[in-house]
């Protein structure tokens, strides 16, 4: 956190949206970015300060269109050079752009890494770009960011994942204690070093639990594998209102003014259907005829691409407007919104009124029925993991594999021949799980040894 490296991060909220923002802050970042990005208009190199320029980001084989704005330091928000890239809001794409920037900067001898939570604000604070009067608020915000993570960790402690992680850690810590006893207390009469076979049994159990958990986890990528139900229709067709009604709480900004929804809004939902619950991602995109400045073509393109990957498109048309022409696309389900505004004119589709809470259950079941045909039934105990949790579990799983690989080849031996390597892998596994449940102190490991063995000559 306290180094001088350039920091890079996706600065738009997580999840799918029409556009995404990638932000870079660091001394020397402006000239490096300026040199590496390809301006559409060749005369725009170097990129002009404080004015968006259309560029392409050379990502491997393809290049991605973006709007780049350079804010030279020290007059920028963080006090260092800041470059903002406005890109299509596809999460995977944004992450790849971040990776590209980090390695590009490093190749140009600018130390760079991904930013930690709250780090842009911290830089602004440290570089005196925020007034002293605001300092207290910022410090509190930094604390809140990390405290929020702690609170999340505490919440997690009561959850199924935490119970499982704690069981795993306990088993691993005990395993580690047995291995450590075979290292630190071999000169003790009473200490019987753990046999490879015994340790392997324990580690196999840990591995299969980790794998099962990861298999059932719905991470970001899996979330994207969940079928998309995209709400389509003209501006102010009531899509946002319908999304909120289906989700059951306020999410999209709802307004009577046409074109209020600028970014896509995505919400995971579980819909009860005749063949069991179905998981889906409800996606609300900008209205089709939304004519706002600047980014409209991009937004329209994103809306189109969202519709293209949708399993179902809910084509919304208000009851008081003419019905849409029939479509041959089997994915399209017509929804007649605002059914309270006009009587049923016999047009096809489900009639709903979010205002009167009418027709919503019918629509839910209809969606579920369509999706069930695609075989997207949800497993009972799937747990959505944050990216951090999932990466911790994957890390743990990789390190336990490493330990198993070491132990496996000496299964028939009486004692472990390289316990220090096994211990290193076990510690790595525990370290990874610590991210979920808190730190295991070396004293705890020693405590287990002392509790189990009569140590001391």
């Amino acid at each position: 956190m306290l180094d001088q490296a350039a920091i890079v991060a996706v600065s738009s909220p997580p999840g799918a949206s029409v556009r995404g923002l990638v932000r870079v802050s660091g001394v020397g970042a402006a000239s490096a970015m300026s040199a590496a990005l390809q301006p559409r208009d060749a005369s725009a190199r170097p990129l002009p300060p404080r004015s968006p320029a259309a560029v392409r980001v050379p990502l491997g084989g393809c290049s991605v269109p973006a709007l780049a704005t350079v804010f030279p330091g020290p007059g920028s928000a963080t006090g260092e050079d800041v470059v903002e890239l406005l890109l299509p809001g596809q999460p995977d794409l944004l992450e790849r752009v971040v990776d590209w920037i980090v390695s590009m900067l490093r190749s140009r001898a600018v130390p760079a890494r991904r930013a930690a939570a709250g780090e842009f604000m911290a830089r602004a604070f440290l570089n005196g770009r925020i007034e002293l009067t605001a300092a207290e608020g910022v410090a509190a915000a930094i604390a809140a960011r990390t405290d929020a993570e702690l609170r999340a960790a505490h919440l997690l402690m009561d959850g199924a994942l935490a119970v499982e992680a704690r069981t795993l850690t306990a088993s691993l810590t005990e395993g580690l204690a047995l291995v450590e006893a075979g290292i630190d207390f071999t000169d003790q009469e009473d200490v019987v070093a753990v046999t490879p076979a015994e340790l392997l049994g324990r580690l196999d159990g840990v591995r299969s639990t980790l794998r099962r958990r990861l298999d059932r986890a719905i991470g970001l990528e899996r979330l994207q594998a969940v079928p998309w139900v995209v709400l389509a229709g003209r501006a102010n067709a009531g899509k946002s209102t319908l999304l909120n009604a289906l989700v059951g709480h306020e999410r999209a900004v709802v307004s009577a003014v046409a074109g209020t929804t600028r970014d896509a809004v995505a919400e995971p939902v579980t819909l009860a259907g005749p063949h069991g619950a179905v998981e889906a991602l409800l996606v609300d995109v900008a209205g089709e005829d939304d004519e706002t400045l600047g980014l409209n073509p991009l937004m329209q393109a994103a809306a189109a691409s969202a519709q293209a990957r949708a399993s179902i498109v809910l084509r919304c048309s208000p009851a008081d407007e003419p019905p849409p022409s029939p479509s041959a696309d089997a994915r399209i389900l017509d929804v007649c919104t605002k059914s309270d505004l006009a009587p049923n004119d016999g047009r096809p589709g489900t009639r709903v009124s979010a205002a009167r809470n009418e027709g919503l259950d019918v629509l839910r079941r209809t969606i579920a029925l369509h999706l069930a045909d695609e075989g997207a039934t949800v497993q009972g105990d799937a747990v959505a993991l944050s990216a951090r949790q999932e990466s911790a579990l994957r890390d743990a799983s990789a390190r336990v594999d490493e330990a198993i690989a070491l132990v496996d080849r000496q299964q028939s031996e009486r004692t472990l021949s390289d316990p220090e390597l096994v211990a290193a892998a076990l510690r790595g596994t525990i370290d990874a799980l610590e991210a979920l449940i808190g730190r295991v102190d070396p004293d705890e490991v020693l405590g287990l040894v002392f509790g189990r063995f009569c140590v001391g000559k």
């Binding site: 180094d3 930094i142 290292i183 390597l421 490991v445």
Partner: protein
């Protein structure tokens, strides 16, 4: 603090001077380290101890090294300390523990002739012409404006409390010539010794009380006294003191045992020395120097355990006679073992000769404070010991210590500038732990005297660094002993690379003399040559580098594969270093990446002006913890119980912002 009637030493010069109090393993390393650093500046070290003839005494088990401890001895040696040389010169049985396990967790150990060991330590001390030894007890630390400027030494008899007597005690001209305070001498005089810094190493002697059954004797070691005044002096200075307990087993007369009938325990056929300077640096340039011996093994039995249970109420730890709450778990008394592991009906007892020239046998495994007559019966119940004669009964000793959060990882107390603590006074146990702290404290005391910045060893640099960090960030419940499992970077902190890790630092700090430095450079050249040869060569069509990762590869394989690519005189140590480096390569790279990632925040200094109570947004509990522990670095702060990651972030921000503001002001 003025002392009426005290005799002040005439101030010879303005040269820097360090006072080391205590002549145990911490005290002697402190004295040697300070003497080495101060020598080029004509600085002097005065070592004050109750009985100079007991300097370097092995109070308990006459053994040096072992698991994790052996690595520490190697580190002390790499930094110019004397423990490794003294052990090599006096070892009568050498054994590498964990020899069948990976190189990172092998622990060299030796049993020494305890009389030879103390004599060798005294001889090595006498090689430093700027160390003087003074018999006496320190009752007061003289503090002026928050800084230690001297000490009041009592107990030296009047006739000796003059310059002539003190000069008589100088070790410069030869072996130790202790001057004893005769019991008939009264009243004892006090002298006031001025100095630039003090290293206090009280061992088990502060307000020490020995227990054998119901009998209690003041003293920190059998036949010796107790230091009472210093305990009060520290309390008066505002230090928070605690009380710990340790113990020692009975010593038997060898002639009274059926020695030959008991199963033997042998040392290694080819002993390996601790010191990088052995054998050339040993007297006679020979290793091992002394005749090698073997030990014997016997055991307790159900009848003995019944006897112990029947007499538990007479054991001071169980009768409540001892104030200290907790003895060491890793070194339990036989009473503890019987109570805690009641299902066992036998415990091994190792019978270890303490010297080639005495018949004392150390009973490793039955540390006890039971009444003498119970000890007699206990010992005689063991096979081979039925006619055993006990030369000295086992006893427990409890003593005052200073809770170690009151020092920094430099060894200096946070309360009194210039006052350093090392060894058991910080709640540790073991000669090696004491010696490591003594070295760090002596080094930093000398640096302070010279106006140099203090130095700290990192957790990724040395076991000594792990220990210092643990001491200042944790609250010990029992005497602290080093284990390899305490070091998260164990694969980096090995006995085989202690010199590579530390000797260059030691050279820069003035701890490593030309002789050691030349030897180090020669070894490094050899290692570099082996490494280059490894990089150039292939075996079975694959790069040798890759083949060496296989665990089954031996030193002989490596030598064979390299053939003529390396010099014929290439040492086994150089080959081993390269082999071990290759073997752990992947792990070491990962560890180094981890260390680099945390390096900035780990070493970020928390400045004096930082007021925890005024750090914006910091929780009260975290602020209180900071006030109590006063961590010196952000790394230390992050390891304190009661400090969470959000707190660490806020502290870092406060420091960085404060610094920027300071820079702006000074610009």
């Amino acid at each position: 603090m003025e002392t009426g009637g005290g005799v002040s030493l005439p101030s010879v010069s303005r040269a820097p001077s360090i006072l080391v109090i205590g002549g145990g393993h911490a005290g002697v390393e402190a004295a040697v380290a300070a003497a080495r650093v101060l020598a080029p500046y004509s600085g002097r070290v005065t070592l004050v101890t109750m009985d100079p003839s007991r300097i370097g005494a092995m109070s308990c088990n006459p053994a040096i090294g072992g698991l994790a401890k052996g690595q520490m001895v190697r580190e002390i040696d790499a930094l110019g300390g004397i423990m490794g040389l003294a052990a090599d010169a006096t070892g009568i049985m050498f054994k590498v523990l964990n020899a069948s396990r990976g190189p990172a967790v092998r622990g060299p150990r030796c049993q020494s002739d305890k009389y030879a060991y103390a004599a060798e330590v005294q001889r090595l001390l006498s090689g430093h012409t700027n160390i003087e030894v003074l018999a006496g007890t320190v009752d007061e630390i003289v503090v002026d404006d928050g800084r230690a400027v001297g000490a009041v030494v009592a107990g030296a008899c009047p006739s000796h409390a003059d310059r002539a007597a003190i000069e008589h005690n100088l070790l410069a001209s030869g072996p130790v010539r202790p001057v004893y305070a005769q019991p008939t001498d009264e009243p004892s005089a006090t002298i006031r010794l001025p100095c630039d810094a003090i290293v206090l190493t009280t061992g088990t002697f502060m307000r020490a009380l020995m227990h054998t059954g119901a009998s209690r004797t003041p003293g920190g070691r059998v036949g010796e006294g107790s230091a009472v005044g210093i305990s009060k002096a520290l309390r008066d200075l505002g230090f928070e003191l605690g009380r710990l307990k340790t113990g020692t087993p009975p010593r038997l007369r060898r002639q009274s045992l059926d020695w030959e009938r008991l199963p033997p325990q042998h040392g290694d056929a080819r002993p390996v020395p601790f010191s990088d300077l052995s054998p050339e640096g040993l007297p006679g340039a020979r290793f091992p120097r002394l005749r090698q011996i073997e030990c014997r093994v016997t055991e307790t039995n159900a009848a003995i355990h019944d006897l112990i249970r029947a007499n538990l109420d007479r054991a001071p730890m169980y009768s409540g006679q001892i104030e200290a709450e907790c003895g060491p778990r890793y070194c339990p008394s036989i009473e503890d073992k019987v109570v805690r592991f009641g299902d066992r009906d036998a415990h091994h007892v190792f019978l270890e000769p303490e010297s080639l020239h005495s018949d004392e046998i150390y009973c490793n495994g039955i540390s006890t404070s039971l009444p003498a007559e119970v000890q007699d019966e206990l010992v005689r119940g063991m096979p081979g010991c039925t006619r055993a004669e006990i030369l000295r009964h086992g006893y427990a000793v409890e003593y005052d210590m200073v809770w170690p959060h009151q020092i920094d990882a430099t060894g200096m107390t946070k309360r009194v500038e210039g006052l350093f603590l090392a060894g058991q006074i910080n709640g540790t146990s073991g000669y090696e732990e004491a010696a490591g702290q003594g070295l760090v404290a002596g080094l930093n005391a000398a640096r302070l005297a010279l106006g140099q910045e203090p130095v700290r060893l990192g957790r990724d640099q040395a076991y000594i660094g792990v220990m210092m960090d643990d001491l200042v960030t944790k609250t010990p419940r029992e005497p602290y002993r080093m284990f390899t499992s305490r070091a998260e970077h164990r694969l980096l902190l090995r006995a085989d690379n202690a010199d590579a890790r530390l000797t260059p630092h030691g050279r820069a700090w003035g701890l490593v003399d030309d002789e050691r430095w030349r030897a180090f450079e020669a070894r490094e050249r050899m290692v570099a040559a082996v490494r280059a040869a490894v990089d150039r060569n292939r075996v079975e069509g694959r790069p040798l580098r890759d083949v060496l990762r296989r665990p089954e590869v031996t030193l002989d394989d490596l030598r064979r594969w390299l053939g003529g690519a390396i010099g014929r005189d290439t040492s086994a140590e150089a080959l081993e270093r390269v082999l071990v480096d290759m073997r752990y390569d992947g792990y070491v790279q990962r560890a180094n990446a981890e260390i680099r990632r945390h390096a900035d925040s780990e070493r970020l200094r928390l400045p004096e002006w930082l007021d925890p109570m005024r750090i914006t947004g910091l929780r009260r509990e975290a602020a209180d913890t900071l006030v109590r522990f006063r961590p010196a670095t952000l790394g230390q702060a992050s390891r304190l119980a009661g400090i969470n990651p959000a707190d660490v972030m806020l502290i870092a921000v406060a420091v960085r912002r404060g610094k920027k503001r300071g820079e702006a002001r000074s610009a």
